[in-house]
């Protein structure tokens, strides 16, 4: 338990730091503390990224990477926006589609033995094309009831879903499957040798990432109220950034999806911090880039210090 805390501490630290900075910048700018409106809108806009980041972190924990999240989100956004208003049961079809897309990645990675980054680079293109086929022009809609249940702009229903996502992870972490995810990321060959069915686990992990992308898509359409076949693109790099800021090791085996959730929220707060600090828009990406590098740098320094302490 103490171990687990130490491992994800980077994400929490960064989140805490950005939260403090956010409140400071906000209050100094507006002369009052953030209101429930602010918290609620942060929550609702971050939810899609939170889900993608959870899926991405699962994949990264096995030592892989999923670039196709962009495509999967796009497909699912397209299908959600075009179908769900006709019947809410389509929501489940969307989740099934996302899972199937992810499972396809998993099949290719686990049984086709093609490196994850390459597999998902190729399927990104395929899924993006698919999304464009389903929804050539932005549009579509989502029923108001769905919206009020998922991302109600007036009440924090989003908190429930965030809580469920966190709880889902905690449960997953406490299954044998969860332990196996870490085992594979730590050393796949050894994991196989001690009886971990690596291919099957990886298949499930990628499928889960697809499911997470589908959930993200549903929440995305719910916050924006309609769809766009290019909606998924920004999630590729932001989900990777969340995972990294959240302290999940790229080599796999270390970190936690909760860290990635913290990372996702922190990245959203950075947007707000930049907003309230009145930086010249032309220079904005410079600060975002610096934030990424510095956050991770602090993480490596902290890890080094921890190792020093352990060795001493």
């Amino acid at each position: 338990m103490r171990d687990a805390l130490r491992r994800v501490s980077l994400g929490y630290l960064v989140l805490a730091a950005t939260a403090v900075a956010y409140i400071v910048v906000y209050t100094s700018r507006l002369g009052r503390f953030p209101t429930s409106f602010d918290y609620l809108s942060i929550l609702n806009t971050t939810l899609p990224l939170v889900f993608v980041a959870i899926g991405q972190s699962l994949v990264v924990l096995t030592g892989g990477i999923d670039l196709s999240v962009g495509g999967m989100v796009s497909v699912c956004v397209a299908v959600t926006a075009t179908t769900v208003s006709s019947s809410i049961t389509w929501l489940f079809v969307v989740l099934a589609i996302g899972t199937a897309c992810g499972a396809l990645n998993g099949l290719i990675v686990a049984y086709g033995r093609i490196a994850p980054i390459l597999t998902t680079l190729a399927t990104l293109s395929i899924f993006t094309g698919l999304g464009l086929r389903v929804l050539p022009v932005p549009g579509g809609s989502i029923p108001q009831e769905v919206r009020l249940v998922l991302t109600n702009p007036a009440t924090p229903t989003g908190l429930i879903w965030l809580g469920l996502a966190v709880a889902g992870w905690l449960v997953l972490r406490r299954t044998r499957f969860g332990m196996r995810v870490y085992a594979i990321g730590s050393d796949e060959a050894s994991a196989r040798a001690v009886g971990v069915p690596a291919a099957a686990v990886k298949l499930k992990v990628y499928a889960l990432s697809g499911l997470c992308s589908a959930l993200a898509a549903v929440f995305y359409v719910s916050t924006t109220t309609s769809g766009d076949a290019n909606a998924g693109n920004p999630f590729i790099l932001t989900s990777i950034a969340s995972v990294v800021v959240g302290g999940v090791a790229f080599s796999g085996g270390r970190g936690s999806a909760l860290g990635a959730v913290a990372g996702a929220v922190a990245l959203t707060l950075v947007i707000d911090i930049l907003f309230f600090s009145g930086i010249d828009p032309l220079y904005q990406s410079l600060f975002q880039g610096l934030f990424l590098v510095v956050a991770v740098l602090l993480g490596t320094v902290a890890a080094l210090a921890a190792r020093r302490r352990r060795q001493a």
Partner: protein, 309 residues
């Protein structure tokens, strides 16, 4: 083993061209090939740098804005004058080198994962480029690339192709004939063993990222010479494209294996596929899907990892 992959990559290119020629007469004519080679050369430059970092298990995501920044540096510092061209070229390449150096230091000395370091650096370069050129509206931003550079693309056998051949020669000599090349593969295959054999792993890594920056800048110079003037977003298409070209060229994404000859073939294959699909008037969604499927097919043909059992 890895030279066999080069053959596969070349075979892939030939196959795509053949299919294209059969379904679309004239597709593989010299005039068509000539253009595809020129277009592929831009990818080829970028992919040269990407390949170098991939050889040591890294990746360079800062390519888009290094490329764009270098292109703008070239025109704004040369002001379109031939006499200032050499200096401007050096300056543009220098910018690329500097950013690459920064990437390399971050990865090798500070231990920041390559994905993060280069992604962050891309943002930094975007901010600096936009800010310093005031969104490409600065006084000298209307300058053209100096005339001699723009002549690179003229003629039946454009000078640009010789430039690409030069890059090919440089890469091949560097990687196969020099001690540096040997060290690159050693680091790519087993960094720990390389370190214990007295290879300056960090130095090699920094050098490779620096070279990657230089190649991205070179691509920026070539692109601005091709179009005459820079635009914003010039480098965007080259991020995923460079990675795709590297792997279609048979370079192992895990590092330590691959040759630039394969990457040349890979760049050409990608351009040929895109050109063919556009010529067939396949709609955008179909193009994206087929492009992805072709890459998958190529990966299945020769990009698979070893079986575990």
């Amino acid at each position: 083993m890895s030279s066999r992959r080069v053959l596969y990559a070349l075979g892939g290119t030939v196959a795509v061209l053949l299919v294209g020629a059969i379904l679309h007469p004239g597709f593989a004519s010299w005039s068509s090939l000539r253009v595809m080679l020129v277009v592929a050369s831009f990818t080829g430059f970028v992919a040269a740098g990407q390949m170098l970092v991939v050889l040591v298990g890294g990746i360079d995501l800062s390519i888009p804005w290094v490329l764009n920044g270098a292109a703008i540096v070239l025109t704004t510092s040369s002001l379109g004058q031939t006499s200032r061209a050499p200096l401007a070229i050096l300056l543009a390449l220098g910018v690329g080198a500097l950013v690459g150096l920064g990437n390399g230091m971050g990865v090798a000395w500070l231990g920041v994962p390559a994905v993060v370091m280069t992604l962050g650096m891309n943002g930094v370069m975007q901010g600096l480029t936009l800010g310093l050129s005031k969104g490409l509206t600065c006084a000298s931003c209307g300058s053209y690339a100096p005339e001699p550079l723009r002549g690179l693309f003229d003629g039946a056998l454009p000078a640009q192709l010789f430039l690409w051949a030069g890059v090919g020669l440089f890469m091949t000599v560097l990687l196969t004939l020099t001690t540096f090349g040997r060290r690159v593969y050693a680091v790519g295959v087993n960094p720990r063993a390389a370190f214990l054999s007295g290879v300056g792993v960090r130095g090699v890594t920094v050098a490779l990222y620096t070279l990657s920056g230089v190649f991205a800048a070179l691509a920026g110079i070539a692109l601005v010479a091709y179009g005459g003037q820079p635009s914003l977003g010039l480098g965007d298409p080259y991020l995923f494209e460079s990675i795709a070209a590297v792997v279609v060229g048979g370079v192992s994404i895990l590092g330590g294996r691959g040759h630039y000859l394969g990457v040349i073939a890979g760049s050409l294959t990608l351009v040929a596929v895109t050109t063919f699909l556009q010529a067939q008037r396949v709609p955008e969604y179909g193009r994206l899907m087929i492009y992805g499927l072709v890459i998958l097919a190529i990966l299945f043909a020769y990009g698979r990892e070893k079986a575990h059992d």
